[in-house]
């Protein structure tokens, strides 16, 4: 009797473990045609944003996109039997049914707890990727689809001072604005060289599936203090923060300013390049980057501005990223001045 009871008990235990700790992620919702009105229908989180499903792979980025100092939590869900590959640039290529899940929040000024405001999804469906923003309810019980975006007043501690901003949740089109290449939605973040996996075993799982990944050198961390890789850090910072639009097929293709690493000459990388459609954002300066002179470079002045008609990047910029701009200033200051 015990012979057949034991396996049965084991089965039961597995079932309990799955239902208690591991909510089943609804693959049909990810790949389906409908956009569920609430986030809970996907099963990415159990109860609240603080309890992600262990079926998702958490990851971080060595050099992330700045978004008003928001803290971000990133996850990948890959469907059962889904095969991940990588392109020649190290960008992971995910199967239909994949979900990229990214939550944004701030530490509560009083309690120090991370208060998640919104979770953005990129869902890989049969006819391409779809971007959807979900905004968490005040009680944290669930998040609601807000395709039109919204604004949320937020206070948090920035460098020891309480800072209040109107936090912008992007609308569905704005998601696409950044996540587009040749007018198709595409993931930006999951490039192997920029990814780190806090959970043991996850990185190895990818390299086992995709042996070529092992040959890619990891990107610089933008906030690394090593003075020898200032140029690398600046390039990566620009690539991550600007290169999704400033690319030959990106939303800012018409500027002729390419910060995604594709520039083949100084001008298209901004050095000695005059502004085209910057309007008042040129701010009485002549060049996007004036070598040796960060204070005379439009790139720096726009990254320091929070005026919506001037600020770059255009989204997630109620504040400016002082530490990131400092890296770029140091990099431009160190460039040998050239004759324009």
């Amino acid at each position: 009797m015990m012979r057949w009871l034991l396996p049965l008990l084991a089965c039961f235990a597995t079932a309990v473990a799955t239902s208690a700790n591991d909510p089943e992620i609804a693959e049909n919702m990810i790949a389906g045609e409908q956009n569920p009105p609430t986030l809970s229908e996907f099963g990415f989180f159990k109860g609240g944003a603080a309890h992600p499903s262990s079926q998702m792979i958490p990851y971080t980025l060595r050099t992330p996109l700045f978004s008003d100092y928001a803290e971000k939590q990133r996850f990948i869900f890959i469907p059962r039997d889904g095969v991940v590959t990588a392109d020649a640039q190290g960008k992971l290529v995910f199967p239909v049914g994949t979900a990229l899940v990214k939550s944004f929040g701030y530490q509560d000024v009083e309690t120090g707890n991370l208060n998640i405001l919104e979770t953005r999804l990129l869902l890989h469906r049969a006819n391409g990727w779809v971007a959807l923003p979900y905004v968490w309810r005040a009680d944290g019980s669930d998040a609601d689809l807000r395709v039109g975006g919204t604004r949320i007043p937020v206070s948090f501690d920035l460098h020891g001072a309480k800072t209040s901003i109107s936090y912008a949740v992007p609308n569905k089109n704005q998601c696409k604005q950044c996540h587009s290449s040749a007018e198709q939605i595409t993931p930006i973040g999951p490039i192997w060289q920029n990814m780190e996996f806090p959970r043991s075993g996850d990185a190895a799982r990818f390299t086992r599936q995709i042996p070529t990944l092992a040959s890619f050198a990891k990107w610089a961390r933008w906030d690394d203090r090593d003075p020898h890789n200032l140029q690398d850090r600046a390039h990566i910072y620009l690539k991550v923060n600007c290169g999704h639009c400033h690319a030959p097929k990106g939303a800012a293709s018409n500027s002729g300013l390419f910060l995604d690493g594709s520039a083949t000459d100084a001008a298209s990388a901004g050095i000695g390049k005059r502004p085209v459609a910057a309007g008042r954002a040129s701010g009485d300066l002549d060049f996007i980057i004036e070598a040796g002179h960060p204070e005379r470079s439009i790139l720096i002045s726009r990254m320091k501005s929070t005026d919506p008609g001037i600020a770059m990047p255009e989204l997630g910029r109620a504040l400016h990223h002082a530490e990131g701009v400092k890296v770029l200033e140091d990099w431009i200051a160190a460039m040998p001045p050239t004759v324009h």
Binding site: T150, N171, G279, P308
Partner: protein, 401 residues
């Protein structure tokens, strides 16, 4: 019987043009206008009309449309108003990134960046719109009023744009373009066609700008080699608003009191316009006089034809380096037409207008304007073969007929 047949045929034709189940999504101003209007622009399906009610929509962020074949229609340019005075984010008021879109009968006020931008949006129609910075010319106004870029087939018809700190109507890196029956006033540049191919700019009024109508080509851009632009039947008068563009911006170099300015384009025709009361000059044809290192770029204007325009007063207050000295040498006034001489005599514009017309003789593209040695431009009597008129797809013309 006959009538009924016509009715059936008519219905069948409508069905061809209008997708099945096309619907109108009405949006009224009032609380939550930002989210309601943006959600309507996202929910719209091809063939739908997003209808803006009468009144003022107070917006906090930029709006965007990314669905093909959608019409956004208001009750009138002064009745349905998208008010961006309280805008906190995004680089423009309304951004369109889809094809076959019609924007008509509404106003856009005080956006922080550009007014309406359309990028990669083919066959777009801008009709009976108003884009305005209501405080008049100010350096803090947004750059462009109406701003299609990287698009094929662009129609801008019966719009009014006022107060842009760069160009009121700006068409960039596009092809097959008509700008007509529109008014541009109190902008730095009234109408600007830049790095574009095949454009007709006609029956417009450009007044009280710094420069009325500009045809430019700039280096280091994905589309270069601007050509085939016709500027005709326009009224381009009294463009004397002091240049309020920030330095660095290319239009910051446009001298106050410019009528038409052609820079580094080929095959440009300027004919049958009325020009006058432009203190620097009515028509100027110049090279791109900045250092650049783009081997694919041609900084010289060439094959420019200036024919049968009517000229009023011009040139009494030329606002560029060396201008006053030349004016003094000519008895106090700068010519109504001038060419900087870039590239030498084979590049000279062909002029029939019988007004004062000069070459500054600055053959070298990098020569200092202060070293000009002006000589009169010859008057021509033989008009070169005319450029063909621009023709847009019938579906676009049908919208405004």
């Amino acid at each position: 019987m006959r009538m009924r047949n016509i009715g059936i045929v008519g219905a069948a034709m409508c069905a061809l043009v209008q997708p099945a189940f096309a619907k109108t999504i009405a949006v009224a101003p009032g609380d939550g206008a930002q989210a309601r209007l943006q959600e309507a622009l996202i929910a719209a399906e091809p063939g739908d009309v997003v209808e803006l009610g009468a009144g003022r929509f107070s917006l906090t962020d930029g709006l965007s449309l990314d669905v093909n074949n959608v019409t956004v229609k208001g009750m009138g340019a002064k009745l349905s108003i998208l008010d961006f005075s309280g805008q906190q984010g995004a680089g423009e008021g309304l951004l369109v990134t889809s094809d076959d879109v019609v924007l008509r009968d509404f106003g856009v006020e005080n956006s922080k960046g550009d007014g309406i931008k359309s990028k990669g949006a083919d066959r777009i129609v801008y009709f009976q719109l108003r884009v305005e910075w209501t405080g008049g010319p100010k350096e803090t106004n947004g750059a462009y009023g109406i701003y299609p870029v990287e698009s094929k087939d662009v129609l801008i018809d019966s719009v009014i744009v006022r107060g842009a700190s760069d160009a009121g109507i700006y068409v960039g890196q596009s092809r097959n373009i008509i700008v007509r029956e529109s008014i541009a006033s109190e902008n730095v540049a009234g109408i600007e066609i830049e790095n574009s191919f095949d454009a007709d700019v006609h029956d417009n009024i450009a007044t009280h700008n710094t420069g009325g109508i500009l045809v430019f080509d700039l280096p280091n851009l994905p589309q270069m080699g601007g050509h085939n632009v016709r500027i005709f039947d326009n009224i381009i008068v009294d463009n004397m608003t002091p240049n309020f563009a920030p330095k660095g911006n290319i239009v910051a170099n446009v001298p106050t009191g410019t009528g038409v300015m052609v820079m580094a384009n080929r095959n440009v025709e300027i004919f049958d316009n009325v020009l006058g009361e432009n203190g620097t000059s009515n028509i100027m044809v110049v090279g791109y006089r900045f250092p650049h290192n783009d081997p694919k770029y041609d900084p010289l204007p060439r094959d420019v034809v200036i024919w049968d325009n009517q000229h009023g007063r011009a040139g009494w207050d030329p606002k560029f380096r060396g201008g006053k000295e030349i004016a003094a040498a000519m008895g106090g006034s700068f010519p109504a037409i001038f060419w900087d001489g870039a590239g030498g005599p084979t590049k000279a514009p062909i002029v029939s207008d019988t007004v004062s017309a000069l070459s500054l003789g600055l053959t070298d593209i990098l020569a200092d304007p202060a070293t000009a040695s002006p000589v009169p431009l010859a008057v021509s009597t033989t008009r070169p073969a005319a450029l063909p008129a621009i023709k847009l797809p019938d579906s676009m013309e049908a919208v405004v007929r």
